[in-house]
């Protein structure tokens, strides 16, 4: 079922750089690239929530944006809600070694990091647009 919104969910991983990139890419989708068209949800709420949050990926076609190849968001969404409509792995975009570097505070984001965010958001956007086109 296609609604007017598409779910985009980040792992927001705290242990490495890739998690910060995935989080910022989803925020960029929400604020700049697809304002008003993105539905998001705190990933842990899928599991901890008791207000029907697990139905999220049944209601919206959902894209998982993960910080490394463990793909926790994708796996958690598929375990607790529904199959994802698409997924992005930051490690495939910036390389596994980079993705697994130390976690990054938003205070210390450089132009290079923003380049990673932009690439990740662009990949997410591509998948987003594909889903939209298929729904017409």
């Amino acid at each position: 079922m296609i609604t007017n919104k598409i779910g985009v969910i980040s792992c927001s991983g705290e242990e490495c750089l890739g998690g910060t990139i995935s989080r910022l890419a989803v925020r960029k989708m929400m604020e700049e690239l697809k304002p008003g068209m993105v539905s998001t949800l705190c990933l842990p709420l899928f599991i901890a929530g008791d207000g029907g949050e697990r139905e999220f990926a049944e209601k919206y076609p959902t894209i998982a944006v993960d910080g490394c190849s463990k793909c926790c968001a994708k796996r958690a969404i598929e375990k607790y809600s529904n199959k994802v409509a698409g997924s992005v792995d930051v490690a495939e975009i910036i390389g596994e070694v980079k993705a697994l570097e130390k976690p990054l505070s938003t205070r210390n984001v450089t132009d290079e990091h923003m380049e990673y965010v932009n690439k990740t958001a662009a990949k997410t956007c591509e998948i987003f647009d594909d889903i939209l086109i298929k729904s017409i």
């Binding site: 927001s12 705290e14 842990p44 899928f46 130390k102 938003t106």
Partner: protein
């Protein structure tokens, strides 16, 4: 004693999740790096053997963005021992009327508040290390 796990929810919709995340990073990266570490909460919720082994029976502190307490609940469900649990709005009273930013970026007031939250967490770490709790 292994490192104390300090885990934020990193909620993405509002500024509270970012405040939780940044305050925890200040503790694990700057204030108490030799006594603390963080874990990806999204990894914790997968229940992978690897992450369960890291958290089961371990001393944990959680910082949640709201009363849904996702970090605390997920850590407990995975077998972590949450000895201190906080949520960002608990300490808002002295900050009423301030603008802390969004889920993307903090304002100067937001950074000051994150610093205050980090101090609270660092105090928890000291207490736990001293065996006071």
């Amino acid at each position: 004693m292994s490192k104390i796990k300090v885990i934020p929810c990193s909620g993405i919709g509002k500024v509270f999740g970012l405040l939780a995340r940044e305050s925890v990073l200040m503790v694990t990266e700057e204030k108490c790096p030799s006594d603390t570490e963080t874990l990806c909460l999204a990894h914790v919720v997968t229940g992978d053997d690897e992450v369960v082994a890291k958290i089961k029976g371990e001393t944990c502190i959680t910082m949640d963005g709201c009363a849904k307490y996702c970090a605390r609940k997920s850590v407990e469900e995975t077998g972590g021992i949450v000895v201190k649990s906080h949520k960002v709005p608990d300490f808002m009273k002295a900050h009423r009327g301030e603008e802390h930013g969004t889920g993307t970026a903090l304002t100067d007031d937001g950074w000051k508040y994150a610093e205050e939250l980090a101090e609270i967490l660092a105090e928890d770490v000291k207490e736990i290390k001293a065996g006071v709790n």
